[in-house]
Symmetry: C2
Subunit: 797 residues, 2 copies
Amino acid sequence: MERTSVTETGFGYECSPWELRWRGLDVDALQRTESAFALSNGHIGMRGTLEESEPRGLPGTYLNGFYEQHELPYAEGGYGYPEEGQTVVNVTDGKVLRLLVEDEPLDMRYGVATAHDRVLDFRSGTLRRVTEWSSPTGRRVRVTTERLVSFTQRAVAAIRYDVEPLDEDLQLVVQSDLLANEPIESDTRDPRVAAALDSPLVPQFCQAADYQAVLVHETRASGLRVAAAMDHKIEVDNGLRTRIHAEGDLARLTAAVDVRKGGRLRITKFLAYGWSAQRSVPALRAQVEAALAGGRQTGWKGLIAEQRQFLDDFWATSDIEIDGDPELQQAVRFALFHLLQAGARGETRAIAGKGLTGPGYDGHAFWDSETFVLPVLTYTMPDAARDALRWRHSTMDKARARAAQLGLRGAAFPWRSINGAECSAYWPAGTAAFHVSADIADAVLRYMYATGDIEFERDCGTELLLETARLWASLGHFDHHGHFRIDGVTGPDEYSAVADNNIYTNLMARRNLSAAADSCRRHPDIAARFGVDTVELDTWRSAADMMALPYDQELGVHPQSEGFLQHDEWDFAGTEEEFYPLLLNYPYFDLYRKQVVKQADLVLALHLCGDSFSPEEKARDFAYYEARTVRDSSLSAGTQAVIAAEVGHLQLAYDYLAEAALTDLHDVHNNVRNGLHMASLAGAWQGTVAGFGGLRDHGGQLSFAPRLPGALRRLTFRLTFRGTRFQVSIRHTHATYQVLDGPTLDLIHHGERFTVTAEPQQLPIPVLNAGPPPSQPAGRAPARRDASKVRPFINGG
Amino acid sequence: MERTSVTETGFGYECSPWELRWRGLDVDALQRTESAFALSNGHIGMRGTLEESEPRGLPGTYLNGFYEQHELPYAEGGYGYPEEGQTVVNVTDGKVLRLLVEDEPLDMRYGVATAHDRVLDFRSGTLRRVTEWSSPTGRRVRVTTERLVSFTQRAVAAIRYDVEPLDEDLQLVVQSDLLANEPIESDTRDPRVAAALDSPLVPQFCQAADYQAVLVHETRASGLRVAAAMDHKIEVDNGLRTRIHAEGDLARLTAAVDVRKGGRLRITKFLAYGWSAQRSVPALRAQVEAALAGGRQTGWKGLIAEQRQFLDDFWATSDIEIDGDPELQQAVRFALFHLLQAGARGETRAIAGKGLTGPGYDGHAFWDSETFVLPVLTYTMPDAARDALRWRHSTMDKARARAAQLGLRGAAFPWRSINGAECSAYWPAGTAAFHVSADIADAVLRYMYATGDIEFERDCGTELLLETARLWASLGHFDHHGHFRIDGVTGPDEYSAVADNNIYTNLMARRNLSAAADSCRRHPDIAARFGVDTVELDTWRSAADMMALPYDQELGVHPQSEGFLQHDEWDFAGTEEEFYPLLLNYPYFDLYRKQVVKQADLVLALHLCGDSFSPEEKARDFAYYEARTVRDSSLSAGTQAVIAAEVGHLQLAYDYLAEAALTDLHDVHNNVRNGLHMASLAGAWQGTVAGFGGLRDHGGQLSFAPRLPGALRRLTFRLTFRGTRFQVSIRHTHATYQVLDGPTLDLIHHGERFTVTAEPQQLPIPVLNAGPPPSQPAGRAPARRDASKVRPFINGG
């Protein structure tokens, strides 16, 4: 039994390799656990609220791409400022199953919960819950539930709800709802956004019959239509009475029955969701009723079995095993599970910064998706990576229009968006962060290298590459000395903005320009269709060849952007801990003009464009920026783990990896209530596979440079590349490579080329003496990871 | 008679040396003429609306410092963003005098106006009007009005209103109003601002008796209280019946009388205004009734006589005579008259960007005041300059608090404000434009040099200098090489922002630091009171000595800011005329990253800090920036005139001077309807006195380098300096200097020191061969000024 290996961590969750469990009820912790216990398949997302609906943190049912829009206010407007914002909408809630025990509602704030146990199972892909509850008048029941959002039937979710009287015969009434326009609390201070999200759904249709009901709504401003349907299977001995009813915002099945002690009321609730910007009410109703019929046809057991099979396949391709740190083991699987949930069935919709786990960041997708999440999916679930890139491609017209509005050529992808239109209201950290377009190109290139998917390249890849290359060609210019400069843009670090020749941006643009030229050469017909001629190709190559890359000879380091190294140092010693994150306590102007780094920027270039730096440069640059990076962004720790490992500071890499992996489980940024941080979860994979595994994929050549920190005994991960599934298993002195499935592959291990086959190959790990680790700003060093000191603890008590 | 010299210009106004006249009614032009015909004394401002109130452009009665506040909305907020905006309020309108002729209201949109003539008289300081009107049923009357806002009694305005039947006996009814909360059209798109300005005044008190009435109101949010009172003297043969009435937003005196042909109804309306953030309703009522009593005691003739005397004194000290360009002569006097109106009785209130002539810029004051307007006042009405600086000093606590909020020391004065609190909602072009604090210091220094006003220095000057010096000391830092850098700030040019080492800013900061150190040395007791010790003084001097001033050896020019010269060139050839002003058609990011200059920045440094550049550097820098400056700001032409003249391009200087001087009369920026551009009006003086006169005051030494463009025969201007009033008269070959009043002065003429006395001294003007003039961006050269080609034209017909 797994349960025998359970230990408790200091943050309420029990430590276990394949599940996440929280024992007991902690109302104050509900909102953050709802995020961690969220279920999603990338199309539907349901937060882990209790079936009874209350007590609750923040209810949330989301459909990928479904949003309301609202005016963006500006006290001082400007040309090209986006006028409309988009915010993810809490759609019709189908999770609700209310229980009355002899007319007393099961509400865990009243009576006594003698047991209450929730567990997210990474292998079954379900959220289970067992509650034993004694009502204020002493009636005792056991409620056992399990729910899933199906990976195999993307429009379908299902809940099994069992109630057992524990001491006596009891009259039970269950109300199973579809509930639209739930009142929710909003963090927004903007009255226009609040107004847009107050009862955002206008009822258009409702119908109920037998055990089945459907509600159709439309948003006021964005004009999107959503249909939700439910059906039920009810298993009980006898005496069941039911009633079904539907009105504008509510459909309700009421089931009443007397259940004997030892008996059980079992309700299986099937849910289906669909939305469209175009389909009519009848068409959308038909769509969800058909999905519902499919789900019912498969049945609960069938859905459970499909879910398990899907996850078995996933883990076979992507699992990471860590010996020596059980909490990290759990966190890494938690991360992979949620990344899978975010991306599995997105199917040409975005992967939002929070996935579908909460309303944070308004449900927007950012560059995080391509830079942090897609590499994970590319090497574990390449079809999901492809679908996410197809989403970007589907927004190409908006990106072209945005570029034209900005006076540029090609495509300028948005900094933040749900539907592909720019929603960033602060241009220095939004529009000016043009690197998002190169990040997309890089993800395209990585995906194409990893899969050789010519069909994708012809359908989407070449176009994405060439239109982003056009952006760079029009955004930069050749100076008097022939260097290609990209001025006035913002790199990944949000504590600097609108600077010249950001090295990360320039290196990524260089790769983008070269890759576009290569792809156009491979597909001259596509190039011709988009009007790319040899003059344009030559310009791209010249710009790439002559890309400006500032370097400070005196200091021997690369400036993040031109002039950065001449800026004043931040007074870290004088900055108390409560003043972090700095952006809440210091003005942008002060942050922008000093050498303080929110998140890896030049260090991210050391990772993604590592082929442009010598090992000595990497060591010097890393040390320089370590002393100035405060990690006020959850995007940073994973990248710092990767480069710390590369330059040989393995304990530091381990510290950063743990921070990235535990960001959400430990609520490091105190905002998990609004959803999980997908990029940070991806950082757990990056820190493991690119960090201790040393995975790099420059130019499509996979290479590894594995090294383990002292605390870990063994690290094993699985990847898929060009149809080959293989495994890398790392110990302190050697690494073992083995193909699990598919043809052999040429790889590089610590600089030496070799061929990995079905026969395990053991290769030695060379010794690296990195010297003393670099220092961090006062108080901003990551927590020293020591797995042996994780305190046994239950539910934060 | 002046009228014999009248010619008509192409813009509706008749050309005349001492007045501005518009003949006939042009409803479409009403709004802009209301700005030009505005009367003000710096305390009260009244737009030039017709007494009948309609037709109208935009009614407006303003009290300096009286505003409503409203929340500033941000789609994405940030630390240190101002939360409250301020907007000037149209207060109770006392200009209204409605006439009924045999029950037909005089409304010039109906019936026929056989004559209609308005004239702003620069010597009487009144706005006169004669209208002959035939009602739709053929009754004819002549209405003659004259109004003034008293320079001598700052709370008082008065209107004389005469009506004469022209053909027959007529029954006349006049309604004289105090009218609060007039409905006005607003340009704002922000519903919160619009809501704040919709009926902003809450009635608190009203009273009427005999011919006198008073209304007291309070603003909703800012909590300011305003009182307006009126009294009347009515002169008519007999049969007069009157009624007076007051309610919340209206007080009305109704006068009805039968007037015989050849007779006349004369109403003299006295108005008084007062406002306070603290005084009670009875106190404020008493204040305006007392002011009214004073005005009545002086009487109409007395007010007219005082006004004339005040203006005679003003012109004696400040007049500019231009021979050879009558339109420019008129424009320069118009400019001086409005600058006087804006500043004469401000008395520790701000001089707003639009003065009190319209609601533009929300009624805010900017750096324009200190940099452009105060130099004019310093040398013509030094007490007004002092009072404006006392306003800045009165906001010192807010400026210190703002600096502290931004993590800086000393005082950070606001980019835009009415009450001294920062109201700029876009920090890259607001908060980051720290130069405003050095501009204030420079104005303090100039005023002290020009007056030797030790009392001011001890009360305000030293404190202003030392607190702004502290700002610079904390804003900049010494780099590895010991240079003092000021990074991440915005200079005058709003088409660049947040750059390092803006030369204008650094030079002005250098002067500020040195001047503060000097003043602290002169007043060690004040220095001690503010805790300035020798260490701090040494830091200021070191920072000043080691100020970073980038220079490009290769190009031989100064970069406006570091990196500017490496930026891409703007595609001027590809920018059609309708795309100007660029900020309405291109995003900030694009403007900021290219070599395109909205307004003089480095060129303003060449003027104000001309002692830091060699003549050759000035010539090269001017030529370089001329080719890149588009003058999308009304602040620019005056400065370009000054430097064009200095480097010897006299026709170009003349072109720029004309543009600056005629900005409002020709409505160059198509926004005069919202108020006059005080800085551009000041630019007319700058272009004349600092341009063709070559006035400089570096270190308190006045110097001149006069030169006339070919078209002008003679230019004479008067200045006051350290109690001496003197005159400079320039011809092509020589200039004549003469003290009019006061002791002798040491001056410099073209580099040669001399002493000016009561005896006229004629000094020769050396020949300067400047070579060909520099070019401007395609389509952005100023109109070539040719006074002989000003077309005779009436009212735009």
